[in-house]
């Protein structure tokens, strides 16, 4: 008797004996009743969280939703679903197939078969229900299962007979072979899913050979995989791998099904199966194994077998697939350095590039040494891969003082991607000793018209240059290198300060000092303990040399903090021998207004890019007439938050930089 029943029984006893005389007893009874309920619920595992939704799904008229619910009930043994499942089974208006699924689910939940009731389903007019009865007998049915299966094996319907055979094979394994042999002999046509299941459960060599033949037919493979997916036999792995090799390259769906099946198999079985498969040799086997290793089982021991097999491979597709597998970190690519290094000399550039990428995954190598010959490779993707690998290498391995010579070929490549990457390598691994040779090599890019190449050359040289030489790099590109600046004046998040005229706008007096206001508000992320109250301070003009090789005058770094919600002014005076027209490129973060010799020549406020969130305003191709003698560039720069800088490039009509430096004696 359950606890609940015991309490109920005691309750009826008390009712009969006027328990109301004992109020405390009444409370106890109530508590005990509740406890009984709880205890009785606790006797079985609590229903999984999705039960309620699945019960609703079962009541829908969508068979897919119903099937999902039944699968859920069986998988998680949701006893709360048994009643609804039974109702579905009894519902004659429901589809026979879903009723069959209900029968299988119910027997899984109740873990028993009631003979009188089961007989009804075995003899049901619809083959779907008879087949479901046969499926129940794979694991259920007890002592009577064998007899019932004999009956079902004589059924007129193929699906019922094959399902009964599968059930018998599952129960009897090798002993079922005689029956299975005749049922699945060549020439017979039955449902492939159940035939495969029958053969797989039988498991004899002959049965597996026949299963292999069945799986070799691409139009049957999908059904076969469905039939065997829950059969945990290591013997099935080689059959599945072989089936994979027979598939045409484009059969993505079937390849996907095979991977799904293999993914659910025991990893040890899979490793053993793949090992044997690789050892059997042949490009097709190696390629298939390599792909599966890459996607499913990156075991180092398989890597060793794979590399050994790859030495005999001839097809570049096989070598490619193999190297991809050997290059993944879990395979421990460092074990295969020798093989990768050999492939650096492969005739196919794709293999050479791949070998470089694999080497880049090997820790502890000096890639600068290994990849030196690749700097002169005739193929652009190979050189790009080599430079990309060097970018991830420790700079300490780079040849000190001779990096420019090392990078000679890519630095002078006709391909802009290669040149940019070579500049990046120089920036990444170069030292101050490389500066002069690098400048000699890259000066033409600095003075060139290609913005991207100029930027990458400036980045590299900026990394290598002594701090005193940055100004020269800036001038060579045509950027104004020397400024006198003042700030900050108060701005707000609506950029109101940009409209306000602060004293430097009225008259430029480098000796003047001003009382200005600033606020801490506006700093990205906020400033701890600060408020938005303006604070007053004295500010004065100061001379600044641009210290960024890309020509940017950093306003925030050169003016008192915080730099957010700020306005600053910058003046640069340049001298020209004779009057001339120049073309300006002005850019800044967040915004600017520029005067030349007192006349406004342009203004722009950046609109934040929703993708990059950058707020850079750019005005290219601004034509300006300079007069002979001194010319004054005057900039009002505004910032709301984040980086704050301004930059002006002065070029001729063709885009060649105008260098205002005084000629060196």
């Amino acid at each position: 008797m359950s606890v609940k029943a015991q309490v109920l029984a005691s309750g009826s006893f008390l009712l009969r004996h006027n328990f109301l005389m004992f109020p405390r007893l009444k409370l106890f009874l109530l508590a005990a009743l509740l406890a009984g309920c709880t205890l009785s619920s606790a006797a079985s595992a609590p229903a999984p969280l999705g039960t309620g939704r699945m019960l609703q799904q079962l009541e829908s008229d969508d068979w897919i939703l119903q099937a999902e619910a039944l699968h859920y009930f069986a998988k998680y043994r949701v006893m709360d679903g048994a009643r609804a499942t039974r109702a579905l089974l009894a519902n004659e208006k429901a589809s026979p197939w879903i009723r069959g699924r209900a029968l299988v689910t119910l027997s899984a939940l109740e873990n028993k078969v009631v003979p009188a009731e089961f007989q009804k389903w075995m003899e049901h007019a619809r083959p779907e229900l008879r087949a479901a009865a046969a499926e129940v007998l794979e694991v259920g049915g007890g002592d009577q299962a064998a007899a019932w299966l004999q009956t079902l094996l004589k059924d007129k319907d193929d699906s019922v007979r094959y399902q009964a055979a599968a059930a018998l094979a599952r129960r009897s394994k090798e002993a079922a072979w005689a029956m299975v042999d005749s049922l699945t002999a060549e020439g017979t046509t039955g449902p492939a899913r159940l035939a495969a299941r029958t053969l797989a459960w039988t498991g004899t060599d002959a049965a597996l050979q026949r299963l292999g033949a069945l799986m070799a037919k691409p139009d049957q493979l999908s059904k076969c995989l469905q039939g065997i997916r829950d059969i945990p036999s290591s013997k099935l792995v080689p059959l599945i791998l072989t089936a994979s090799t027979r598939l045409p390259e484009g059969e993505e769906r079937l390849h996907g099904l095979i991977l799904t099946d293999l993914q659910n198999r025991d990893k040890k079985d899979l490793v053993t199966g793949l090992g044997k498969f690789i050892e059997a040799g042949g490009d097709q086997n190696i390629r298939t194994a390599a792909r599966i290793i890459t996607l499913l089982v990156p075991a180092p021991e398989l890597g060793v077998l794979l590399r050994t097999a790859l030495t005999k491979a001839t097809d570049t597709r096989t070598i490619e697939a193999g190297m991809i597998a050997l290059g993944i970190p879990a395979i421990e690519p460092v074990r295969h350095v020798e093989y990768f290094t050999q492939q650096l000399g492969h005739a196919d550039p794709a293999i050479r590039a791949l070998a470089i990428r694999c080497l880049a995954h090997c820790e502890g190598l000096n890639l600068f040494e290994i990849l030196k010959p690749k700097m002169a490779d005739e193929n652009v993707p190979v050189v790009s891969a080599a430079l990309g690998a060097l970018l991830r290498s420790p700079p300490a391995n780079a040849p000190r003082g001779t990096l420019v010579t090392y990078l000679k070929a890519p630095l002078s490549s006709t391909d802009n991607t290669v040149r940019t990457l070579a500049n990046d390598v120089l920036a990444h691994a170069g030292s101050s000793e490389d500066y002069k040779p690098a400048l000699a090599t890259l000066a033409s890019l600095l003075r060139g018209r290609d913005d991207d190449l100029r930027a990458s050359a400036a980045k590299a040289l900026g990394q290598l240059a002594p701090s005193g030489e940055i100004g020269d790099l800036v001038s060579m590109q045509g950027y104004l290198p020397k400024w006198t600046i003042i700030g900050t004046f108060l701005n707000d998040d609506k950029n109101s300060g940009f409209k306000e005229v602060f004293p430097p706008e009225k008259a430029i007096d480098f000796d003047a000092k001003y009382q200005s206001k600033f606020v801490w508000a506006g700093v990205q992320g906020g400033v701890e303990g600060s408020d938005s109250k303006p604070i007053e301070r004295e500010i004065a003009w100061s001379k600044v040399n641009v210290d960024q090789a890309d020509g940017r005058l950093l306003m925030a770094a050169n003016l008192p903090p915080p730099g957010s919600l700020s306005i600053g002014y910058a003046v640069s005076d340049v001298t020209v021998d004779k009057a001339r027209e120049v073309m300006l490129t002005i850019d800044g973060d967040d915004g600017f207004r520029v005067w030349v010799n007192g006349a406004v020549i342009g203004e722009q406020m950046a609109v934040p890019d929703p993708k990059t969130r950058r707020t850079v305003a750019t005005m290219p191709g601004v034509k300006v007439q300079l007069k002979q003698g001194s010319n004054r560039f005057f900039v009002k720069s505004s910032n709301i938050t984040g980086p704050w800088w301004v930059r002006i490039r002065v070029a001729d009509a063709e885009g060649n930089p105008v260098d205002f430096r005084a000629p060196k004696p």
Partner: protein
């Protein structure tokens, strides 16, 4: 041309000689007891000197230092002991060399050594968010002690402590709460960086790459516009304490002229004067770092800053000679002495 009388010229020359000789005189002046004392670059007022002595006496008092040599209320004893120990070293006292505080300091050193022995080199309190902070602070204290006393047992504990820091550096370049390479934040990173730098100065080998990676991490915590530092790169508020910590660690690692350092110093100076007020959040933590950063920044900045903070700190001292604050009484007392005693410059980390 105006003629100057000979006596005026002689007075001017004498004044110049006195001015030039001042640093020499200032070192000698440490033994002077009366009046205003010049130590290094700053004038230590009688109030500051008295406050330091009173504070050290408080720490040395029986019952304040526990029998095992530690200070603290049990929660962050390693941190409190480390700061307490450094407070004595600040004035030039050496552990184990006898004298007024020699035994007290030796006991504190022994406590830290024993902590390391019992925890396979880890000096912090296990399973404590501040554990790695404590570890760094203890390594710093032991480094300073090792630099002064060369006690072999200190060397063993120090090497083991440094080894743990080296192994716990995350791929980001920084450190976090536990002694394993998982994550990073500015506060923990600065503590380890300062500890490593100090250990390196005292002769323990520290790979340059470790310091470089950590410096990069610290710089990545800086907010570009304001120059202030955040708790983690790109996230959270910019703060005075964080900026002080960031700047100080950059200076200690040789980045004094780096634009990030200069920008950070500008932030510290521009930050509102409420930073000098009693009760400013994380007062001792912030000013422990800030005073060192400003001290390294140069004479003018230091002369502007030091009197303000010294006045506040002295005014916060309690009757018994202690200070109170977040982190415990010994922590606050040790930190207070280290803040106002910066001009003593006996600790290697306080030397320009």
């Amino acid at each position: 041309m105006k003629q100057y009388p000979l006596t005026k010229i002689l007075v001017a020359i004498l004044a110049a000689v006195v001015f030039i000789a001042a640093p020499v005189q200032s070192v000698r002046a440490q033994s002077q007891e009366a009046g205003e004392q010049i130590v290094g670059v700053a004038r230590l007022t009688p109030e500051v000197r008295a406050a330091i002595t009173k504070g050290l006496d408080y720490l040395a008092k029986e019952g304040v230092q526990k029998a095992d040599g530690s200070w603290g209320s049990g929660q962050n004893d390693v941190a409190e002991t480390s700061l307490g120990l450094m407070a004595f070293m600040l004035k030039g006292y050496v552990p184990g060399r006898g004298g007024r505080y020699g035994v007290v300091m030796e006991n504190a050193v022994t406590y830290l050594i024993n902590k390391g022995k019992s925890q396979r080199g880890f000096l912090g309190t296990p399973n404590n968010h501040a554990g790695m902070y404590e570890h760094g602070l203890a390594v710093l204290a032991l480094s300073e002690a090792w630099g002064q006393s060369k006690n072999p047992a200190v060397g063993v504990a120090l090497r083991a402590g440094v080894d743990i820091i080296l192994r716990a550096q995350s791929t980001l370049g920084g450190w976090r709460y536990s002694p394993e390479p998982s994550d990073a934040d500015l506060s923990m990173t600065v503590m380890q960086l300062v500890a490593l730098n100090s250990a390196h100065e005292s002769g323990i080998q520290v790979p340059t790459a470790t310091i470089e990676k950590a410096v990069k991490y610290v710089i990545s915590c800086q907010e570009e516009g304001s120059g202030g530092f955040r708790y983690m790169p790109g996230s959270g508020e910019v703060g005075f304490a964080r900026t002080a910590a960031g700047v100080m660690s950059l200076i200690m690692t040789g980045q004094r002229n780096h634009k990030s350092t200069q920008r950070g110093l500008a932030f510290l100076k521009a930050y509102p004067n409420k930073k000098f007020e009693k009760g400013y959040p994380r007062f001792h933590y912030a000013h422990y770092y800030a005073i060192q950063a400003i001290y390294q920044s140069g004479e003018t900045d230091f002369q502007n800053w030091y009197p303000k903070i010294a006045t506040t700190v002295v005014s916060m001292q309690e009757q018994d000679g202690s200070w109170s604050g977040e982190g415990g009484k010994a922590y606050a007392t040790g930190a207070s002495i280290l803040i106002i005693g910066v001009p003593y410059r006996f600790l290697p980390i306080y030397q320009r």
